[in-house]
């Protein structure tokens, strides 16, 4: 092979690689990236919508398609425009959620590295390819971070008290929209809310502001907050 031919061959190989990684990424590496998402999203067999929408079948799905999910106005506008999720718009959304949808309630700062995004999307793609046969996901997706006795999970929250207590949360957690540093908590399912607050209370989660806030709330008060935010 002449040097020129060698160069051309190498170049074409490089281009092919670039195209491949853009389109398909590495699902194995993407599974590791996905660890950032599991606090809110589930995928795999039996996955359900929780804090965030279930991600099985996300490719090709209409934006804002999960019934009864409390989507932001920004996503509802995209839904109204008929947008469906594909590689390009998912890639843009994950790169900078608020640039893509200003009022989004996805409390994620964004992922600047295009390779990591491609890997993540390659991983998520696995759960969209065959709706009839969703594969098992890694067990981290559904494991609870804190073990709570059934009676704590069964507490029925006093919504009016929750509304008063919630006013303290709303100093930082916006009722609508979100910011890079502080996630939205409106519309969370009660169980996830209770689990997260007890994880702070037991200091399994590290943020000292939240450890302080959760640390002085009684179980009934956490239940009251969960009931309020689930309905607002």
């Amino acid at each position: 092979m002449t040097p020129i031919r060698t160069l051309l061959f190498l170049l074409s190989f490089t281009f092919a690689q670039a195209a491949l990684s853009n389109e398909f990424g590495d699902a194995k590496l993407g599974e590791k990236v996905y660890a950032q998402c599991v606090a809110c999203h589930q995928v795999g067999k039996g996955a359900q919508t929780g804090i965030g929408p279930v991600l099985n079948g996300i490719f090709g799905r209409q934006v804002g398609a999960i019934q009864d999910y409390n989507y932001s106005d920004s996503l509802l506008r995209l839904k109204h425009n008929g947008m469906r999720w594909n590689f390009d718009n998912l890639d843009a959304y994950i790169e900078n959620p608020r640039a893509f949808a200003a009022q989004t309630r996805m409390g994620y700062a964004g992922l600047a590295d295009p390779k990591a995004r491609a890997d993540l999307l390659a991983y998520l793609r696995i759960f969209s390819d065959s709706p009839a046969n969703i594969p098992e996901a890694a067990p981290t997706a559904t494991k609870y971070e804190v073990e709570l006795p059934d009676d704590i999970l069964a507490l029925k929250g006093d919504i009016a008290y929750g509304e008063y207590l919630a006013s303290e949360c709303l100093t930082c957690h916006q009722a609508q929209g979100s910011s890079p540093g502080i996630p939205p908590i409106s519309g969370w399912p009660e169980k996830q809310f209770v689990l997260a607050m007890h994880a702070y209370k037991q200091k399994l989660r590290t943020n000292p502001v939240m450890q302080m806030m959760a640390g002085r709330l009684a179980d009934e008060e956490i239940a009251a907050l969960a009931a309020y935010f689930a309905s607002h």
């Binding site: 700062a109 009016a160 008290y161 509304e163 008063y164 207590l165 006013s167 303290e168 709303l170 100093t171 930082c172 957690h173 916006q174 009722a175 609508q176 929209g177 910011s179 890079p180 540093g181 502080i182 943020n207 000292p208 502001v209 450890q211 302080m212 806030m213 640390g215 002085r216």
Partner: protein, 420 residues
């Protein structure tokens, strides 16, 4: 009994039930007037109007049509925020919550007749009054300085034009010039504020005027987050900042605004830009109302009611309440307890235990944020701390960046909680 008469009686019975309100049976809609549209007042007005769903008539009196937050103004001085990003208006309080927003100064309060006089001459009555006026300065606190000197030597401790003036002076400072700050004695608004300001001014000068010097004359032997600030000053701004505490005369200062001289313990220092942050007291309307003791307005921690007049509630920097620092976060937290208590008194809504919290974030340098916070409960004597936390020296860059991001989130959150 005719159909018409029975129909009338049913209607009347229904109407009475709907209007039943323990404290004000037989009265017109109860009137709450809030004076001061900052973190305390705007929050209180918004929560009372929002949660009473029209049962209480809420008026907010605030002279400024545009509110520039004092919190985050240090980031503006450091070149990290625009002044426009600190600006907020009151339109949504009127349009979304039905609050009557009056842009005027309250200049008189008659507690016997429950009447407020505005600078325009207009008078209005109240059933409950909430005062959240922020701070004013103690006359003669720093020899040679009073508010007539603020155009030469800004305090920049109320948001807006004073902050812009200080920024313009810093940007016009000669190469290698000297910036001096006179720090205030306790208690004052935003305990880490002067030291975050020193950090942010050093941040600005490091880029624009790297041979400039900073002198801080301080009457206090120690200050908020001192270990964290000192670590950051050594790390980011080595050799720029000279802090002079009371051991070296930081408590014995005077200024000469014409000559631009700062005297520290008899030693004259020629300065190019000077920022005097004087000793503080409650906003003047508290004195006018006659509810202050010393420099501040004492309040009950259970409700934020004045200890002098239980028809008046006081919020935020102007209060003497106990352990909470004077901060926007504290004022916002106190406003929610007061809103709950005022609604309960006027409409019979449920009473809940007073809970308070505060966190103060400070920006030390690029992507370098720290925080200190505590939570509080009411005792009969005061608002008492029930535990807190503080960032640690030597934290990882990732954690400091996350803390800084969190502070941006807090800014967006609290301003939405005040104005949306």
């Amino acid at each position: 009994m005719s159909f018409n008469r029975r129909h009338f009686l049913e209607l009347a019975a229904g109407t009475t039930a709907a209007l039943a309100a323990p404290a004000v049976i037989g009265m017109a809609k109860p009137r709450v007037v809030v004076i001061g549209g900052g973190a305390g007042g705007a929050t209180a007005a918004r929560y009372i109007a929002k949660d009473s769903k029209g049962a209480i008539d809420v008026t907010l009196i605030e002279p400024s049509r545009v509110y520039y937050t004092c919190f985050f103004s240090n980031l503006y001085l450091g070149g990290e925020r625009t002044m426009q990003s600190l600006a907020h208006t009151y339109g949504k309080l009127a349009s979304s919550h039905g609050i009557n927003v009056v842009h005027d100064w309250a200049i008189g309060i008659d507690r016997d007749t429950r009447t407020i006089t505005l600078a325009s001459g207009y008078k209005m009555g109240y059933d409950r009054l909430i005062l959240s006026p922020g701070i004013d300065f103690v006359d003669g606190a720093v020899a040679g300085w009073d508010t007539s000197k603020q155009n030469k030597i800004p305090h920049a401790y109320k948001g807006g034009s004073q902050t812009e003036l200080l920024k313009a002076q810093l940007e016009a400072m000669p190469k290698g010039g000297t910036f001096a700050m006179v720090a205030p004695p306790n208690p004052y608004r935003c305990p880490p504020g002067p030291y975050e300001r020193v950090s942010m001014i050093a941040h600005l000068l490091k880029q624009q005027n790297p041979t400039a010097k900073i002198i801080v004359a301080d009457p206090k032997p120690k200050f908020s987050k001192e270990g964290l600030f000192r670590e950051a000053w050594a790390k980011h701004y080595a050799g720029m900042i000279d802090w002079v505490g009371p051991n070296f005369g930081g408590n014995n200062v005077s200024v000469d605004a014409d000559a631009m001289i700062l005297n520290i313990d008899g030693e004259a220092v020629k300065v190019d830009v000077c920022n005097v942050i004087p000793a503080m007291k409650a906003g003047r309307i508290c004195e006018i109302a006659g509810i202050t003791e010393g420099n501040w307005a004492p309040v009950s921690g259970h409700t934020m009611q004045s200890r002098v007049d239980d028809k008046i509630y006081v919020l935020g920097d102007a209060t003497n309440q106990g352990d909470m620092p004077k901060s926007a976060y504290s004022a916002n937290s106190q406003a929610k307890v007061a809103a709950m208590a005022v609604r309960a008194e006027l409409t019979g809504s449920r009473v809940f235990p007073a809970k308070f919290s505060n966190t103060c974030w400070s920006m030390l340098g690029t992507d370098d944020g720290v925080k200190v916070g505590a939570s509080y409960q009411a005792t009969d004597e005061k608002i008492a701390s029930v535990g807190g936390f503080i960032s640690k020296p030597g934290e990882s860059a990732d954690l400091r960046k996350a803390t800084f991001q969190e502070s941006l989130g807090w800014y967006d959150g609290i301003t939405a909680d005040m104005f949306s």
